[in-house]
Symmetry: C2
Subunit: 369 residues, 2 copies
């Protein structure tokens, strides 16, 4: 014998154990207990004997062995940047959708935490060591070059990808349209002096929201005022800094009547900054966000925002990725290289942070609190 059992602790029952107990082969047990296809080949009596033995021994298939034999882990990975100052509600909602999707298909979900997409590229490649069948990237900001490094034996999907990568399932929402609709809504209730605090302009999502903002202004016949477009990033911290800086630079001058924020985190930060100066939302200034994350409903007033169906998007990414893995497993020849994108519609979530324009308040001086 080549090996001694390392400890006498309760070893889980194997197919061989079940077979022995039922007086049949391990293979027959496998067919009955784990093989959906082949199980019909087994006679009813053998079948019941095997079932009984399995129940008695509390048989549970060993996933590692099964994965090794099948070359299939039945596990999908999720990679996301979850560190950084702000807790990531985007992550939470998308993850929920992904977990739901995986559960529906009897797949496991393994979560990988990243600090930085570019710096952690090698790490991502490292995850593709057979432990997952496919990997979903949440809001990746990677270049086409690093995308090319992704190994071919693992399949990928991306939610809100920054670059559209061929051979990857891309799941997006129509952000340009969402931003457009929101700004048109602001105009429709009477706003003309509309500020936008955006995400980092290098990000596809930030750019699309800016594009929608600009197109809506244009279609409304409102000239674009560069003073009113402020670049931030998608974090609350930065939203706060951007809002404070703008106010500090415009004391005594007219406030915008509405602020369209690049996402909910910025909007929440913005409301706080305004509150500190005694500016009330929506009485003095209307504020709106983008995402419809949990934050949108946990502020007072609740946030008018653009809803992206993040859960659904996560869930759909799972469906599409599994479909592709399935294809690859059963395919006899090359798969088509391009996969294309799925684009979800956005919709306005009208709540309490937007009202008709106020009294044209000027920016009050900062106060100590």
């Amino acid at each position: 014998m080549a090996r001694q059992p390392r400890k006498k602790s309760v070893r889980a029952a194997t197919l061989a154990d079940v077979g022995r107990a039922a007086g049949v082969s391990a293979m027959a047990a496998s067919a009955v207990l784990n093989g959906a296809r082949t199980s019909s080949r087994i006679s009813p009596e053998t079948r019941t004997k095997i079932m009984a033995a399995a129940a008695k021994l509390k048989y549970r298939p060993n996933v590692a062995a099964r994965a090794l034999a099948n070359r299939r882990m039945n596990t999908l990975g999720v990679a996301a940047v979850v560190y950084g100052g702000d807790l990531n509600l985007y992550f939470l909602e998308a993850l929920n959708g992904i977990i739901e999707g995986c559960a529906r298909h009897n797949q496991n979900t393994t979560v990988f935490a990243l600090h930085d997409w570019t710096l952690d590229m090698a790490k991502i490649v490292g995850f593709c060591d057979g432990r997952i069948d496919g990997l979903i990237l949440l809001g990746p900001t990677i270049t086409k070059e690093s995308a090319a490094m992704l190994p071919e034996h693992t399949f990928f999907a991306a939610l809100h990808p920054n670059v559209l990568m061929p051979n990857i399932v891309n799941v997006e929402s129509d952000e340009e349209h969402g931003a457009y609709d929101m700004v048109r809504h602001l105009v429709s209730v009477g706003h003309r002096r509309i500020m936008h605090i955006s995400g980092k302009q290098g990000l596809l999502g930030a750019k699309r929201r800016i594009d929608g903002y600009l197109r809506a202004l244009k279609d409304s016949g409102i000239p674009f005022d560069t003073e009113l477009l402020v670049e931030g990033d998608f974090s609350a911290t930065n939203g706060q800094i951007a809002a404070e800086a703008w106010l500090a630079g415009h004391e005594g001058r007219p406030l915008p009547t509405a602020i369209f924020c690049g996402n909910d985190a910025i909007a929440v930060a913005c409301i706080e900054v305004l509150a500190k100066r005694g500016i009330r939302v929506p009485t003095d200034v209307s504020v709106c966000g983008f995402d419809d994350s949990l934050a949108a409903r946990s502020t007072v007033p609740q946030l008018t925002t653009v809803r992206q169906p993040l859960r659904q998007m996560g869930s759909r990414a799972v469906d599409l990725l599994l479909e592709r893995i399935q294809q690859a497993h059963s395919a006899t020849h090359e798969l088509p290289k391009s996969v294309g994108s799925v684009v979800f519609a956005t919709e306005l979530a009208l709540r309490d942070s937007v009202a008709t324009p106020g009294t044209g308040k000027l920016v009050p001086p900062a106060t100590k609190r």
Copy 2:
């Protein structure tokens, strides 16, 4: 040959491939590439040859095979109820800590979503099929009897367990003390008519917070008024219902001067309900929460609350669970059955939702909005 390769697609390199390329055995390759302990036995030259071959072939160890041989998946599971009306910030923060902890120990994290602890007990048992080495239960509410069903070949940890289970790593925070401190703080700024909207009394956490509330009243010489203890559950929805019901039942009678809510979700709901009746926080009534979740910082005013170090707790649960798994793997005889608890301290997060008592406002009638 017993099997044909199913497709010609890029097969990942194996140890045998590396060995062949380097002109050595697979075993030697294993020692160099994967075996921390045994790698010293290999001569430097063979070593470099193997490393070169591995790099050239982009060798990556196959986790399934390794897991099968080692009987160790290097994966920890996290089970939590993530559905239900409210998105779960508790889950997000604890999960972040767990992922961080696992990353530190080079372990994977697999997330299992549950609907209901009792109904999904069989599911939980099902997860223990070799795919994980240990499972962390987030805020489980299970009975001692169902806990006894948990299999012995998988190890468990529980964050905020509802019953303290022997043979399980329990990680808790000192909720009674946190509640006590908060109520004493309210008293110290002048409050004496302090209401508590609690979680479900069956929950250990809810009970402990109530205990702390009662003890603080007693130590402050304030008689307990049963009218001021309202049972809710830990959801925003229920918090809203409880607060509205209380106000409706007390129109024209004195408001409490402070409301200590069982968690932040209740506090946020409470602030909204008060706002609808034109009652201002903290001018008319002080409101405080428990948890210091994201919600605490996104309300206006920001919430005074009790901070639990959820991330740290998650991270520590990982440390302790892995320690135990390690012990079990190397142990020659039985482990001690009892594991005990780790209790984290709580601390007050003083923000803007608490002030000195107002003018003794009465409950105004409900208004339509």
